[in-house]
């Protein structure tokens, strides 16, 4: 296992570099212009000068090399400087966003709290609700509970957040006035009152997101548990005289976790990726909104950096999932 882990970690470096290159080329090839949002009243010559000031005049390979150096050398140096108060990175150009002309990493850090609060909590809530629903629906397949659960989760999944988000705003923010419709990112949680305000403003976006996540996950849990309920080992466990709870929650669940772990492992990088539409609807302005607005503004350094961080997380969590498979089912061997 350790061997496999080391080998995977070693191969992930070229993999990531390759992904970085492909993304860079893709962004290069994609039609788009960082000046798209500048009003039409600014003449084209001026726009051209502005593009050149962004460094767009240089050839592709030089820009990719610059980005690599900035991302892998200067950004870590800045981190070192920040932690130890040194000045290694002084005067070195960091990865700069074209929209804001400021270091990309600073904006990413700025966006992390709201993304983690909203998307992260929604994920937790989703997992916590989905597991019991999925297990119980499978255990009592085609019961009332299962049918209602199926209906709700399917409707929940097929209703897109651009609709469900506005719907809950109209009901809970406009008509009932219980929750705000717009997320306040300047709120600092430092006492009970601000925590209450934070929960209050998170409620609607978390609800919308958690519905989607629960729907998806509970279906996979249900299907997987159903697959295992009729296996021989369950019969054996029952015939040994184990209680139904132990059979279900230990023997069946452990064997049903492989697809669930896969789905969750794919979901965690998505937490970082944010939730584009839900963030838009509630103006949470997290990473998802950052990415989509950067794509719209053709802010290539920002898109490239975000996508790359995202790729790192995907590679990492898929590796973790692969490790977990081995733990859940010791028969799985990679060596």
């Amino acid at each position: 296992m350790l061997n496999y882990l080391i080998r995977r970690l070693a191969t992930s470096v070229p993999t990531l570099l390759f992904i970085g290159l492909i993304v860079f080329l893709l962004l290069e090839l994609a039609p788009g212009d960082p000046m798209a949002q500048v009003p039409l009243t600014v003449p084209p010559e001026v726009k051209q000068q502005m593009r050149e000031a962004l460094g767009l005049g240089e050839p592709v390979h030089i820009r990719f090399w610059k980005w690599l150096v900035q991302f892998f050398w200067i950004e870590p140096l800045n981190l070192v400087d920040y932690v130890f108060g040194t000045t290694f990175a002084e005067g070195q150009l960091r990865v700069i966003s074209w929209q804001t002309r400021s270091p990309v990493m600073e904006i990413v850090l700025q966006r992390m709290p709201q993304t983690l609060w909203v998307v992260g909590v929604a994920y937790l809530v989703g997992i916590i609700i989905a597991m019991p629903i999925g297990i119980y629906s499978a255990y009592r397949q085609y019961s009332m509970f299962d049918n209602v659960g199926t209906f709700v989760t399917m409707v929940g999944f097929s209703v897109p957040p651009f609709f469900s988000g506005v719907l809950v705003i109209v009901i809970f923010a406009v008509n009932l006035g219980w929750f705000p419709s717009i997320y306040d990112t300047t709120l600092v949680v430092d006492d009970w009152d601000s925590l209450k305000a934070q929960i209050n403003q998170m409620f609607l976006p978390v609800m919308v997101l958690a519905l989607q996540i629960t729907s998806q996950l509970s279906r996979f849990v249900r299907a997987s548990v159903l697959d295992n309920l009729n296996q021989d080992f369950v019969r054996t466990a029952r015939s040994k005289g184990l209680s139904e709870n132990v059979v279900l929650l230990v023997h069946v669940l452990r064997n049903s976790m492989i697809p669930v772990v896969t789905v969750i492992a794919l979901g965690i990088p998505a937490i970082f990726g944010g939730a584009i539409i839900t963030e838009q609807v509630f103006q949470v302005n997290g990473i998802g909104q950052l990415l989509i607005s950067a794509i719209e503004a053709n802010d290539l350094p920002m898109v490239q950096t975000l996508t790359f961080i995202f790729a790192v997380l995907i590679v990492l969590f898929n590796l973790i999932a692969d490790m977990l498979y081995g733990v859940l089912d010791p028969r799985i061997r990679y060596d």
């Binding site: 191969t11 993999t15 390759f18 992904i19 492909i22 993304v23 893709l26 962004l27 090839l29 994609a30 039609p31 788009g32 085609y142 199926t150 209906f151 399917m154 409707v155 999944f157 097929s158 209703v159 897109p160 651009f162 609709f163 506005v166 719907l167 109209v170 279906r219 996979f220 299907a223 997987s224 159903l226 697959d227 009729n230 296996q231 492989i258 697809p259 772990v261 896969t262 789905v263 492992a265 794919l266 990088p269 990415l291 989509i292 794509i295 898109v303 996508t307 790359f308 995202f310 790729a311 995907i314 590679v315 898929n318 999932a321 498979y325 089912d329 028969r331 799985i332 061997r333 990679y334």
Partner: protein, 330 residues
């Protein structure tokens, strides 16, 4: 339990004939099981009704989904409510010629729903099937053959990391005009959308299938099959695939919903069908801002998307049960 003769799809037998024969083919067996699954049958009937409705509906309800009446008529007819509104609101502006009311340009809502369903269902089903086939293929190969695991999973990582939007832009830049030349404007758009959605949504299925295959191939029955010399191809088709069917079915149902919504997002960006071409996703999207005044404009497309997904889900449930030899015959 599983007979070794490879069953050809051509031997699908109508069940009535089948009853008299002593040895039933596997497919007939599956159909028998499927037929007894109440949820699956209800799902199948609803799905058939929806598909028939959108396929044949526009020929029966011949109102043009894109036609706008002349100016004076348009102002008179626009924003009509569905006729059932009369049940609780006698004063509502309704029009018997438009049973589900009209939109803000006086186009008939019913005609738009029927017509829109064609695209949504076609895109949803084809894109889902494409994603499923791709995902299952990659998943089984990388789970079963150790040598392919590394490269295929790194490929999956790559696709997971690619940002969707720039990819759509590039694809549309490279392929839109050649495809339009090959299949005509609408055919080209359809191919492009289906391929884009399919190519960008197979990764989850692949990861899940691979995970299951990794565990399955260490089970005793696979060992047994291998020890009697069953070739890999047959182990995969007869022992692996039936056992990973349930997550595949879940992916299928979720995939349809995602595809229908993604189609509307693509059209919104300008890479889908022309803007006056209705689809369920777009009808829903366009009406969100008017949902308080005209709830029917969001309820109907939303309901139809949900019903389609629900019915496919139940069909999937039935199919899974029918294909599971352990359940079959109980």
């Amino acid at each position: 339990m599983t007979d070794q003769s490879v069953s050809e799809p051509a031997t699908i037998v109508v069940p009535q004939d089948d009853m008299s024969r002593p040895a039933r083919s596997q497919w007939a067996d599956i159909w028998m099981q499927f037929k007894n699954h109440r949820g699956a049958m209800v799902g199948l009937v609803i799905f058939a009704i929806i598909v028939l409705g959108v396929a044949v509906g526009p020929f029966i309800w011949t109102s043009d989904p894109q036609a706008i009446p002349p100016v004076v008529e348009m102002i008179k007819q626009r924003d009509a409510r569905p006729i059932y509104t009369l049940l609780w609101d006698q004063g509502a502006k309704t029009n018997w010629a438009n049973p589900l009311g009209t939109d803000n340009l006086a186009r008939d809502n019913l005609a738009r729903l029927l017509f829109g369903g064609r695209v949504s269902i076609a895109v949803g089903l084809t894109a889902m099937i494409l994603a499923l086939v791709l995902g299952t293929f990659v998943g089984v190969l990388s789970g079963y053959f150790k040598s392919m695991d590394g490269p295929l999973m790194r490929l999956t990582d790559l696709f997971l990391a690619l940002p969707l939007l720039p990819m759509i832009l590039v694809a549309s830049l490279l392929f839109r005009e050649p495809l339009a030349a090959m299949f005509g404007v609408e055919g080209g758009v359809f191919t492009l959308i289906v391929c884009l959605i399919g190519i960008t949504s197979w990764m989850q299925t692949a990861r899940i299938v691979r995970g299951d295959v990794l565990a399955l191939k260490e089970r005793e029955f696979v060992l047994a099959a291998r020890s009697i010399g069953t070739p890999s191809r047959r182990i995969i088709t007869r022992h692996m695939l039936p056992n990973v069917l349930s997550p595949i079915m879940v992916s299928a149902t979720l995939g349809i919903a995602t595809a229908i919504i993604t189609e509307s997002a693509l059209s919104f960006l300008g890479f889908g069908f022309p803007p006056d071409f209705p689809t369920w996703g777009r009808l829903l999207n366009d009406s969100v801002n008017r949902m308080v005044s005209y709830p029917e404009r969001v309820i109907w497309p939303g309901l139809l998307i949900s019903l389609t997904v629900l019915s496919v889900n139940y069909i999937g449930d039935g199919l899974r049960d029918a294909l599971d030899p352990r359940i079959r015959g109980r």
